[in-house]
């Protein structure tokens, strides 16, 4: 096992981690505001097709990423209207959003099937981006750096800003926040839109970086992993980063198992690993009895002020 192999493996892991890290960070903020949006998969697919389509028309991947954010956010706002304005059940609405996003993205993608865009790769000069060792630092798509910057930014926002404090307050006790005079609905709209945009950007990583083309259901269930990741991380950003890389390594194992033909176990076993580990991790966390301690107290409950 040479050094080249290790470098290639690390780059693979980073690539696999980025989408779930982005979507997970977005969902973490949404859940911190007290809303459970199970539509991450749908929003990622909407982001994937929107980002791809904008890139095809504008030939500019930066606009593509903005388009992906807009596509994810628009899909999430549909969810927001149903859940916040009409007090529909968050679980059912979130599931519906996944189904809707899957279907609508396929419909939108019909005319884009078979087209390719220039992959949105490193913007650093080749002397850095393709350098034998320095590519470990400079060889990624700008989306990767964006995801990594968003981790401390989200932490700072939630912990140290007044807006973050209000967002957590709304998720912790919506009625108290309302009685003090904060607008629970507005805060949640903003959080849901942010979650949608982040999921959208995570989704476009598939259609613009990994395989620079559109395919139906190309996010392959990663939205569900992002959801599990939030619980796995106990609603903490630092642990979300660690968890995302943990899952990233598991997913890379599947690829390498296929490629190098690990024969003692079928590759389906490795493919199932991230999902199996999700179940194991969740069972472990809940058996310690502390899973609920950091969960936002109003998570998943509709906001029904009495006055």
């Amino acid at each position: 096992m040479g050094i080249d192999f290790i470098i290639a493996a690390i780059i693979t892991v980073v690539g696999l981690t980025t989408p779930i890290l982005l979507a997970g960070l977005g969902e973490l903020v949404v859940e911190k505001s007290g809303v459970l949006n199970l539509g991450v998969e749908g929003m990622m697919l909407m982001g994937a097709i929107s980002g791809f389509a904008v890139t095809v028309f504008t030939f500019n991947p930066w606009f593509g990423v903005l388009g992906a954010a807009a596509g994810g956010a628009l899909a999430s706002l549909l969810f927001a209207v149903l859940v916040l304005q009409l007090n529909s059940n968050q679980v059912a609405t979130g599931l519906a959003l996944t189904i809707f996003g899957t279907g609508l993205s396929s419909l939108m993608g019909l005319s884009f099937t078979g087209r390719i865009v220039v992959p949105f790769l490193s913007v650093f000069p080749d002397s850095l981006a393709k350098h034998e060792y320095l590519q470990l630092i400079f060889g990624y798509s700008p989306i990767v750096y964006f995801a990594l910057i968003m981790v401390p930014l989200t932490t700072w926002f939630l912990k140290s800003t007044r807006a973050g404090l209000i967002l957590r307050a709304v998720g912790e006790n919506d009625l108290s926040a309302h009685s003090i005079g904060y607008s629970v609905i507005k805060v949640r709209y903003a959080a849901i839109a942010f979650g949608g945009a982040m999921a959208g950007i995570g989704g476009c990583y598939f259609s613009m970086v990994i395989t620079p083309m559109w395919a139906e259901k190309m996010t392959a269930g990663r939205g569900w992993i992002a959801l599990a990741l939030v619980v796995f991380a106990g609603w903490r950003t630092g642990r979300l980063l660690a968890g995302a890389y943990f899952f990233g390594i598991l997913m890379a194992l599947e690829l390498y198992a296929k490629a190098s033909g690990f024969s003692f176990l079928p590759s389906q076993f490795w493919a199932a690993m991230p999902y199996a580990m999700t179940v194991v991790a969740l069972s472990f966390i809940s058996s310690r009895g502390t899973a609920g301690a950091n969960a936002p107290a109003c998570l998943g409950k509709p906001f029904l002020p009495s006055t």
Binding site: R162, R168, S179, A297
Partner: protein
Amino acid sequence: MASPARLELTGITKRFPGVLANDNVGFSVKPGEIHALLGENGAGKSTLVKMIYGIMQPDAGEIRWDGQRINVANPKAARKLGIGMVFQHFSLFEAMTVLENIALGMDAKIPARDLESRILAVMGQYGLKLEPHRIVSTLSVGERQRIEIVRALLLNPKLLIMDEPTSVLTPQEVEQLFTVLRKLAQEGCSILYISHKLHEIKALCDTATILRGGKLVDTCDPAVETSRSMAEKMIGSSLKDISRVAGRAFGATKLAVQALSLAADGPFGTALSDISFNVRAGELFGVAGVAGNGQNALLLALSGEATNADPASVTVDGVAVGHMQARARRGHGVASVPEERNGHAAVPIFTLADNAVLTARDRLGMVRAGLIDAKAARTYAGEVIEAFAVKATGPSAMAESLSGGNLQKYIMGREILQKPQVLVVSQPTWGVDAGAAAAIHQALVDLAATGSAIVVISQDLDELLSLCDTMAVINGGRLSRPMAVAEAKIDEIGLLMGGIHGEAAHAH
């Protein structure tokens, strides 16, 4: 009058559909005066202060502030005038720190560091002890209240409204609170103090305004009045004492709890450790303590909602029932009334008759061949309504349609009329008006007189002292040595409630 009153209300009227909550109420509060607002539940105290604090608008009448006629549009406007309010039910965020909670309640945006130094200054000035970086869920109720008080004091209020502030405090905490309030009043801050605890009002307040059924009954000087005379004005009739046979002898031990331990239920629960006590036939056994010290766990462990691996941890009439579920324990004569009326003791969207079936089906044979005997259920629900003077449209009324006090009377009645050998009740008169509370107390005393053993878990020390024969204090999941109420010292009980175990507690 040299200077105008700080707050003057005249002719305040507020009407809700079907109810006149405030009918032409007027009184005034001078600067630096501690003014009590007295009345039973539903007398209109809360509605009145909500109008002062801008949560509601009066239909008629006027509010004057320092002589100026004002409209308080919302709580923000009230705070701007210098009106602060400490609510009975705190609006706190459990998983956040003290500092974050206070920051959320401030209208002005103050940087965290400045806010912290201002909080420390206010706490130092009034002797309020709080650690700004503690998480609220780890704090006692008294400490939580201090957060609300600090939050109000940071606004330099000219009028502080306190809504039933002492209902959850230990006697020592009450004394500390009074010291703070007296200091505030000396500095010229007026205080509007809502309570139904008359001895506190006598100890603290300069003036008392008494409301009954939304109308002003009297404004009097609590120093001149007796507790009894104020209570009678409050309920509008003469007060009935609990009647009981003097010098009762207790029978054999009915309920024996031996080395009972229970793991904590959830991250904010309290574990029970090594609890032992006996309750004899005819005895009323009180468990005092500040909320959140294991009262809920104790009720669950006794009722059978939480079972124990050791059958002998709970015995009823010599039968070990510690391992049995609630239904099996009911078979052995154990009945219970949990603290939460809606959702625990009763299903809100079930009728009263259906709610009767839930706990009385086995003892009273309401199920035949697997089918509910609806007629038996209705008859029994009717008996309970009749015997306990429950205000309801009948056995088919939904539980949620009853007021808190009436539902509580119904639930107590549902258990008591099953003639349990052992009855465990938690907070039997929480949020219940004085008339209903007296009826519930009398029913408990009467049940004890028939030879049942009764455990009363309550945060209301006055209730336990007037009702029980024996009492113990629960703190941090441990139960103190039982003591005869006749010999109990308030100071010692207070220390036990605060977690300080004196010599006497260690002796056994």
